[in-house]
Subunit: 417 residues, 2 copies
């Protein structure tokens, strides 16, 4: 087992060991945000035939050369083609047919006059424009033809994809499975949030943060509860999570006398791959794999901010890879740092920052107390400024990389145009 990896080494090692989950077949209505396993190839033509893009009149264009408001032309309306209907016969020279949006173009017709350019007559219609070739005609197959590759494998399904799936008659799709994540909390001092804390107990908030972090990206959390500080208690809870794809413990995997997690992990078949990452918050991170199932095991540090940040940096990209995503990492923007940051070299720091859009770009202001116990510092900021391993100081006004945790940062109060 390796110890004291850089963030990059740890992330690479985890992602290497992370499988992409197999397919499940679900209703398209439930597939928003999921990643498509196979490309969608059209078995239909859309629109099925040339059709009208407007309510108006189908005509033969040669009949209307030179027509204008000043020089209108009146034609007999020989039949009507409603949407969903068909022309009863081809359109002959000198004839017009009433037609509605989406209705198929009658044979012989080659343009549509929209009704605003006519007197909207029933038996005869006065036309006041000369149409362009194929004006207001939608070509059959304009959107797609049979055999067209409509959606590539690996696409993340958004609202428009679901519309396209519907329009090609696909109501069932095959997408990558969502990972099941078993979450374990541990410590004799911890109680659930609905219990009294009068005697110095601390609420176990980490599991609630972690479960929400899982749900945010579509993973399926199962909360195994709080294990007491005995090997037996930890083992019972942990075994309840062995059916999941990923086991996340915020019970602490360290060298302390009261940290039995590591022993239990070994007992249940977990091979630890590394322990300790050169970062702050969050050094005491453990990662392992349970053989032969390949279940990933993350032992996250117990401090609330360390738990949340190590989930962000290591668990989240792995879960997104499992779900078939290719863009597994958070957005990163360049920002100007409001205040100097001093640190010791040797660890990469993730500093919680509040972000503000200014005329000179994005300003990043550290959210005050950066103690890894202060979870409220997470909600006062939208991002993590990344201060490199070897840096000892970053001055006010310097440009730093900021990972965006709250995509709402990009949303706008006013429309932007």
């Amino acid at each position: 087992m390796r110890e004291g990896l850089t963030v990059e080494e740890a992330q690479d090692l985890i992602l290497e060991a992370t499988p992409i989950l197999g397919a499940e077949t679900i209703s398209a209505s439930d597939a928003a945000g999921r990643v498509l396993v196979d490309a969608i190839v059209s078995t239909r033509r859309h629109p099925p035939a040339d059709c009208s893009a407007m309510d108006g009149y189908a005509i033969r264009r040669e009949d209307l050369v030179g027509t204008s408001i000043a020089k209108p032309k009146t034609m007999p309306v020989v039949y009507e083609v409603p949407a969903g209907g068909r022309a009863s016969r081809p359109l002959e020279t000198g004839e017009a047919a009433r037609i509605f949006t989406g209705a198929p173009l009658p044979p012989g017709a080659d343009a549509i006059i929209k009704q605003e350019d006519t007197d909207m007559g029933d038996e005869r219609v006065e036309i006041r424009v000369e149409p362009e070739p194929r004006e207001h005609v939608r070509d059959g197959g304009e959107d797609f033809e049979i055999g067209d590759r409509l959606i590539e494998a690996g696409s993340v399904l958004g609202a428009s994809h679901l519309g396209v799936l519907a329009s090609v008659g696909r109501t069932i799709v095959s997408v990558h499975q969502r990972p099941r994540v078993a979450i374990l909390s541990g410590g004799d001092e911890l109680v659930e949030p609905d219990r009294p804390t009068d005697a110095g107990q601390i609420v176990s908030s980490n599991s609630y943060t972690l479960a929400a972090q899982c749900r945010e990206i579509g993973a399926l959390p199962t909360y195994l509860g709080i294990a007491g500080d005995t090997p037996e208690a930890i083992e019972i809870r942990m075994r309840a999570g062995l059916g999941a794809d990923v086991l996340v413990s915020s019970a602490g995997v360290s060298v302390g006398d009261h940290d039995h997690v590591r022993d239990v992990l070994e007992k249940i078949g977990c091979q630890l791959r590394f322990w300790g990452v050169l970062m702050k918050p969050g050094y005491p991170l453990a990662f392992g794999i349970i053989e032969p199932t390949g279940q990933l095991v993350f032992g996250l540090p117990g401090n609330p901010v360390s738990t949340a940040v190590t989930f962000e940096e290591f668990v989240r990209p792995a879960l997104r890879k499992m779900m078939g995503h290719r863009d597994i990492h958070r957005p990163v923007v360049q920002a100007t740092l409001s205040d100097a940051i001093r640190k010791r070299a040797g660890r990469l720091h993730f500093v919680r920052v509040r972000l503000e859009m200014t005329s000179r770009g994005i300003l990043a202001t550290p959210t005050g107390n950066q103690s890894s116990g202060v979870l409220t510092s997470m909600i006062r900021g939208q991002g993590l400024a990344v201060i490199p391993l070897e840096a000892e100081a970053v001055e006010a006004g310097a440009t730093v990389d900021v990972q965006i945790l709250d995509l709402g940062f990009f949303d706008r109060r006013e429309r932007g145009f």
Copy 2:
């Protein structure tokens, strides 16, 4: 009723008529993405008392002045304070107590020696460093005190907020309701996606796009089905949607003989506020209000791209306002246009564009066929370039505003630091 509004006028008029929905009280576990109605004020102190941030030994700092690896000091370990436990008596001069992360600091102790800086002795411990004042001590109330305002009203609840809620014992929260959106489709040519289209029918895909667009932001869609082209059929379906907060019809509200939607809307008490917006795609947009319920009614144009884009520009901001969001608009970025765009003055154009991050900023490339029937053009792009009303041309290389529809655009394939 007004006709032919600008996009800005139409949006302002809609938002003015849009209420913010009232509160509902739900489990915090279900509250991700929801908007908080009342500020969360702490009724607890966290941590409840000064406590150890490390596994190690509690000491009195004055006892260890001058201690170092070269000059270690050995002290008796007089008792142990486990996490969740308490000191059995105050710590006297010259004594050390074994202590674990999260355990309360014994009275008299004023710093923690982490166990890596000792020989980890049980009865006696050799200490090899001189601690800083209060080193590895977490102050009681460091994260929050009783009475602290932890989360402001109007906050969008993310994973960290849910962690903070848990840590302060709040398992039930009051958030703004999610709007119920009744979606109606209409037209005799339309069939559901699981039906054959051999006889020229077209699949009704709009409702599926709209339902997904609703779900994407947390609104609750109810699909009322396809109404046939008779006033009776439309009225029956529409009345089934009167219990919703918003009624969205993609059945078309126009002046066509076969568009009975407008008549039915008037019959069921809808006062149309405007018809027609100076935009492309999507001119024939209608907006009204049903009295006395205040239900909003959107008559969206029937072409798939027009439906999706008008939902984006008008329905989505209204739904987000209803849910209590302040940042109701999509992100807008500046991008360089790859190809010239020609248009007539008089309408604002939303041009579907593919976005690419380059060394010189974001490049926006129109996704080809911009026909409002071509829904596949939506999935080939991540944004809408906004070409102003009065513009007749934008040259290749010009800077344009692009509204981001796919937030995945910001995600990264490689970590960004």
